[in-house]
């Protein structure tokens, strides 16, 4: 089954999209002196939400302490949080303009929906843990650190591709 409506416009050329993305990243370097990110914002969000739900537990936690800040400013008043809000808006705008907004489940033809959703959940959990350990995800480490010739980012990037290719065979039914 084709997941995309017939009226949806084709995706842009990968090199030209990459060039656009590179210019956004360059603008971030020049204006802010920092690159892009994504996983850090989820962190601020979780710290805030957990602080509301279980304030005593969170205040004792060594992990959350770093993200709760001084108690005066909300952790949500953070650069990465606003950037990721922008990512949602930008993605939505592009989706609307290309007529690509559609409720769907992304998967290969041999995969069932419930299993796909279970895998999406597990994948999300694994990746955020990996991102916390590595101090960044594909945005903050690979893209940003990659273009700054950051040693750790290049090590990280090799390992992302290595890890993915190493296990891709076992998950082929999900995608192809």
């Amino acid at each position: 089954m084709n997941n995309v409506e017939h009226s949806a416009k084709p995706y842009w050329n990968p090199y030209l999209s990459g060039f656009g993305l590179g210019l956004v990243l360059l603008a971030s370097f020049v204006i802010m002196g920092r690159g892009l990110g994504a996983s850090g914002a989820i962190n601020a969000f979780v710290a805030t939400a957990m602080h509301q739900l279980a304030p005593e537990h969170v205040e004792k936690s060594a992990y959350y302490a770093e993200y709760l800040g001084d108690g005066v400013h909300s952790p949500l008043k953070d650069w990465l949080v606003f950037e990721v809000l922008g990512v949602f808006v930008g993605g939505f705008l592009s989706g609307v303009l290309a007529n690509r907004l559609k409720f769907r489940v992304e998967k290969g033809p041999r995969m069932t929906n419930p299993l796909r959703l279970l895998f999406a959940f597990i994948g999300g959990a694994l990746m955020i843990i990996g991102a916390r350990i590595a101090l960044g995800c594909t945005s903050g480490q690979a893209l940003t650190g990659g273009s700054l010739l950051n040693v750790g980012s290049w090590i990280f990037m090799m390992c992302v591709f290595g890890g993915a290719y190493a296990v891709a065979y076992f998950f082929r039914k999900q995608w192809i």
């Binding site: 210019l23 956004v24 949602f88 592009s94 690509r100 769907r104 990996g130 090590i155 390992c159």
Partner: protein, 421 residues
């Protein structure tokens, strides 16, 4: 003009959040344009069906890399002020492998999952929920793995510094590598899917005509070649200074650190400053303040530290340190301090403190403890300060990680920077 604008104070934190939002819109827009809202398209990368992930990612990397290089080389951007995530080798290997495995299972990375879920992909939304639950779980086990997460630190380091190669040469090498990877990717796609690459959208396919894609590839290759021959992008020896500002700061004495304060910082294990010894290697080997690095005046290069690092300088009597302070200020370093009184003050106050009539015994007891910590000893009462010069210095620096004296407990864990992703 000086960039990065934010680091030069052109706007404040409030405005930076608006900029964050706008930059995010651009980021999300191009991710969605490339088709990265589709988990199936993303995962196709790992089955050699559609290598868009590699093409988009490396085009973005070499665009930003060559752009930043050229702007820095032209003196528009101060590259040392662009934040580098510190390197921790083992955690970044482990984290990278986890991300790779999670990518194939989940179909997204954190950034693309935002774009996917907002365009209606239910698996993208579930992926975001997975991230939230995963993070809550990670926070619970974090205390037991805190030490592993900070294993094998290398600090903020670029490949250029690691391999001791010119920055421009590496920029050129990465551009070449990316272009070769694009050609290989197009070849692999052709092999696996059996269709020839679309001549308009590829670098290698079809008749040789100039297309936007080929113009872009040629432009990036040219920028890489310029980097190869244009030299170091870090700001060079030409500098301008605001002499009046400098005079005010010198007059106020805000640029000095007292010996006792420095001693406290070292005992606390603080690592948010660089201590630089400007004396000769010979003198340095004979004695230096623990944690100091030896950097004789003539070898002060503009890239020995980031411009916003806190740097504390000292020399024997303070002359060389004062000269170096001026040089570094002129080169745009923002946080340069002098050890007040130089090594002589360190000797007289920290290593060999002397009790005078008015000293509070408790204060003096602490001074003695600090002195012993650094291998010194209190001086006899009544010894003249001049005699202290004759007192032998401790043979070598105190051990790198000595026990913390009582009453000086402080966390030695470096504060993790929040600036990264």
């Amino acid at each position: 003009m000086n960039a990065p604008f934010y680091k030069f104070g052109l706007f404040g934190d409030e405005a930076s959040l608006i900029i964050a939002f706008v930059i995010g819109i651009g980021f999300g827009f191009f991710l969605e344009r490339a088709g990265f809202g589709s988990g199936r398209k993303l995962a196709a990368q790992f089955y050699f069906r559609d290598l868009s992930v590699l093409k988009v990612m490396f085009t973005a990397i070499i665009t930003a890399m060559t752009g930043l290089y050229l702007l820095s080389r032209l003196g528009f951007v101060d590259l040392s002020l662009v934040y580098l995530v510190p390197t921790f080798v083992v955690p970044q290997i482990v984290g990278g492998l986890l991300l790779g495995i999670g990518f194939v299972i989940g179909g997204y990375c954190p950034g693309t999952s935002c774009v996917s879920s907002v365009t209606g992909s239910i698996d993208g939304m579930v992926y975001v929920a997975g991230m939230i639950v995963g993070l809550v779980g990670f926070a619970e086990v974090y205390p037991s793995m805190q030490s592993y997460v900070q294993m094998t630190p290398m600090g903020q380091i670029t490949l250029a510094r690691l391999f001791n190669l010119p920055y421009g040469l590496l920029v050129f090498a990465v551009v070449l590598m990316a272009l070769a990877a694009f050609a290989a990717a197009e070849w692999a796609e052709k092999k696996v899917t059996g269709t020839s690459p679309d001549p308009k959208g590829s670098i290698t396919g079809g008749p040789w005509r100039m297309t936007p894609v080929r113009i872009l590839a040629t432009g990036l290759a040219a920028a890489g070649f310029v980097a190869l021959i244009a030299g170091d992008p870090y700001r060079g020896s030409r500098a301008s200074i605001d002499t009046r500002d400098l005079a005010i700061r010198v007059g106020k004495g805000v640029d000095k650190v007292q010996a006792t304060q420095l001693a406290d910082w070292i005992i606390q294990g603080r690592n948010d400053f660089k201590l630089v010894d400007l004396r000769s290697e010979h003198d340095f080997d004979a004695y230096h303040i623990p944690t100091a690095q030896d950097l004789p005046l003539a070898s002060l290069a503009p890239d020995f530290a980031a411009h916003n690092d806190r740097i504390i300088l000292y020399s024997g009597d303070g002359t060389e340190a004062a000269q170096a302070w001026f040089l570094l200020e002129a080169q745009g370093f923002k946080n340069v301090y002098l050890l007040d009184g130089g090594l002589r003050a360190w000797q007289n106050i920290v290593l060999f403190p002397q009790k005078s009539a008015g000293t509070d015994p408790a204060v003096f007891a602490k001074q003695v403890e600090v002195a012993k910590y650094f291998g010194g000893a209190p001086r006899e009462e009544g010894t003249s300060p001049a005699a202290s010069v004759a007192v032998a210095l401790p043979k070598l620096a105190a051990p790198a990680q000595p026990p913390v004296p009582a009453g000086n407990s402080s966390n030695t864990q470096p504060k993790k920077k929040k600036e990264g992703c």
